[in-house]
């Protein structure tokens, strides 16, 4: 038997739902952030580079246009200043550029952004875009002009330390918010569950009241399941209490017989003494029988899962039990016979199957008139084994044939002493072997035929 502590965690719980929820939140935020970063990289590397190159070309064309209209160096410088001003007005740093205008291959104008010294200037000999500079070259053949323009590749800062702090800031700022949210969600979300837990903890064998219903859709099934379990426990407890009361009551009668006769044993009258001794022995036998039956029932009510079944020769077991019943049968002048094959191996729990056989046999022998026959019959098919005990006793009226399986039920006008547990034990023991018990008429419509149909256990 396990104590009431059974099932409780032997070690303190180590996992934290809060940590788990927080980790999921952070994981989700991180995934979103990574997706955004991928999008950002694409935007910077592809879209902004394309736009930058378009700007570069447009401004180079502007420069050519100015030249064609005869603008001088001052005009071109003013143009660059306006361009930078436009960026600043929009709130951006203007991109760094290098502009060269050549006539017949000789440099006639050059302009560089003032901050060009901050970065590695473009190599004028390398007339192509690279990872740092966007390059464009335009020509105006009739004026023998050639314009070269380098503009910084946009978004370089995105991939430096500055960019990292810029992009990770929102993520780190959101962490405390996530933690707080996780904590709140759990705290609020689990409060009703904690309350249910407290209610369950307050239940004791003496207090199996149902839990108060939960208004939460998510919790209602749990509460309902617990209430159903409590109801089953209550029912079981009531059954046990009834059983205990009935069993104790059943013992009181034989004990009363014993007590009533104990004093008579001191009588001077030898005949009275002998009669009292006889009745006292009967009382003891009845009490012993009741105790035996109660123990037997307790055994046959055990969980079938916990019973160890073994391959047993049922014919052998039947013979063994008939030998034990033969003594009483012989005294009552009843002939017991067994009609069975040589052997019949079956996966059985020997103890409970023995009780089943004993009770069927003792019923048959007890209720049969002297000189009658009790036939035990065993027939084995492929799918089931049928065990039948037939007698020539008074039988059981059809109307009572389900009632007699109830605990402590005894048919009215019953003079043969008994515990009222015999057929209950038979039924429970049969149930443990997935077997059915049916009661019918005996030989020629007289007496009782009790048949147990034992399905052959699923092999393997």
């Amino acid at each position: 038997m396990n104590g009431p502590q059974a099932g409780r965690n032997d070690v303190a719980p180590t996992r934290s739902l809060f940590k788990r929820t927080l980790a999921v939140f952070i994981g989700a935020a991180l995934a979103v952030w990574c997706a955004l970063m991928v999008n950002e990289v694409y935007y910077v590397k592809v879209v902004q580079a394309r736009n930058g190159q378009a700007w570069n070309r447009v401004w180079a064309e502007h420069v050519l246009l100015q030249f064609r209209q005869g603008a001088g160096a001052a005009g071109l410088a003013e143009l660059e200043r306006l361009r930078a001003e436009e960026w600043r007005q929009m709130g951006y740093e203007p991109p760094t550029i290098l502009l060269q205008v050549l006539r017949d291959g000789a440099l006639i104008h050059e302009f560089a952004s003032p901050d060009i010294g901050r970065r590695r200037p473009p190599d004028p000999a390398q007339q192509a875009s690279d990872s740092h500079w966007l390059y464009v070259e335009l020509a105006l053949p009739e004026q023998r002009l050639r314009v070269r323009r380098w503009q910084e590749m946009p978004g370089d800062w995105h991939f430096g330390l500055e960019g990292l702090t810029y992009y990770s800031r929102p993520f780190f700022l959101s962490l405390p918010v996530l933690a707080l949210t996780a904590w709140l969600v759990l705290r609020l979300g689990f409060r009703p569950l904690r309350r249910v837990g407290q209610q369950i903890a307050a239940r004791t064998p003496a207090n199996l009241k149902p839990l108060s219903p939960s208004p939460y859709v998510e919790l209602a099934p749990v509460v309902d399941a617990v209430n159903a379990l409590l109801a089953r426990l209550r029912e079981h407890q009531d059954g046990q209490r009834d059983f205990l009361l009935n069993a104790a009551h059943g013992l009181k009668t034989p004990l009363a017989v014993i007590q009533a006769n104990a004093d008579t044993l001191a009588s001077d009258d030898a005949a009275r003494r002998e009669a009292a001794r006889q009745r006292l022995a009967d009382g003891v036998r009845q009490a012993g029988h009741m105790v035996h039956q109660v123990l037997s029932l307790a055994r046959s009510e055990a969980d079938p899962q916990t019973l160890e079944r073994r391959e047993v020769d049922l014919v052998d077991l039947l013979r063994d039990r008939i030998v034990l019943a033969a003594d009483l049968a012989q005294r009552r002048g009843i002939e017991v016979e067994l009609l069975a094959p040589q052997d019949c191996m079956l996966a059985l729990h020997r103890e409970t199957m023995g009780s089943l056989i004993d009770n069927l046999l003792s019923n048959a022998v007890k209720y049969s008139p002297p000189g009658s026959r009790v036939v035990v019959e065993l027939r084995a098919d492929d799918d089931a084994v049928r065990l039948a005990v037939t007698d020539q006793g008074p039988g059981i009226p059809a109307a009572l044939r389900t009632k007699v399986f109830e605990r402590f039920y005894r048919p009215p006008d019953q003079d043969v002493p008994g515990s009222g547990l015999g057929l209950t034990i038979v039924e429970r023991a049969a149930a443990q072997h997935a077997a059915e018990v049916t009661l019918g008429d005996g030989f020629d419509g007289r007496g009782l035929r009790a048949e147990v149909r034992l399905p052959r256990a699923a092999r393997g």
């Binding site: 008939i322 030998v323 033969a326 003594d327 103890e351």
Partner: protein, 218 residues
């Protein structure tokens, strides 16, 4: 007969001691496995009554200890456990018979007498003689008489009758008879020998329990 009674319960122990003494036996009552083992080793009683539920050990272990040193000593197991498994375990461990609590004193003495007689104890004048009404089997002289007239039996028939007469208190199953009287035979041999035996000793002595076995009416 010197009987070692192993029973831990005071009231039951005292009662059984009285029953044994009233039955003319010398009762050596102990309440623990260790004491029982000591007295068994020291005194070698003639028979033992052994309760299985003892406070300082398992009665079955003691039984095995006894059987290691005394194969023939009659041992009756007394048990509160009326389960089949307990009974079979007791008999498998070498008990000659068993009694389930509660039992009547007269029953105890009768069982004790039966196991002692089967073990050849008692030293009565009729030792080795087994009877059922006017049928007498003399085991030592290997002779059977019916109403004083000799009955000639084969060796197997003699063994069969001897086994039946030794257990007049109960039905013997076919298997028990085969094991004790016809070792190594098949199921049909028993029927043949039984039919012959009945023919020779006459009807009315051996009762058939159909499908189960045979018993001799004492």
């Amino acid at each position: 007969m010197k009987v070692c009674l192993v029973e831990d319960d005071l009231t039951l122990g005292r009662s059984l001691q009285a029953v044994l003494q009233d039955g003319g036996h010398e009762a050596l009552w102990v309440r623990r496995v260790a004491d029982a083992r000591f007295w068994f080793d020291e005194q070698r009683p003639d028979a033992m009554l052994l309760d299985l539920g003892l406070p300082d050990g398992d009665g079955l272990d003691l039984l095995r200890h006894v059987r290691r040193h005394e194969a023939q000593m009659p041992v009756i197991v007394i048990t509160a456990r009326d389960g089949i498994e307990d009974r079979l375990q007791g008999l498998d461990s070498g008990a000659d018979d068993y009694l389930v609590k509660p039992f009547v004193g007269a029953e105890l003495l009768a069982r004790l007498r039966a196991v002692a007689r089967r073990a050849g104890l008692g030293g009565e004048a009729d030792a080795g003689q087994w009877t059922a009404r006017d049928l007498v089997l003399d085991e030592k002289r290997r002779r059977v008489t019916r109403a004083g007239a000799p009955v000639a039996l084969s060796k197997t028939e003699f063994e069969l009758l001897a086994t039946l007469l030794k257990f007049t208190d109960r039905v013997l199953t076919r298997r028990e008879l085969e094991v004790r009287a016809l070792p190594g035979s098949d199921g049909h041999a028993l029927d043949v020998h039984m039919a012959n035996l009945r023919k020779k000793i006459g009807e009315g002595y051996i009762r058939t329990v159909r499908g189960v076995g045979y018993a001799v009416e004492p």
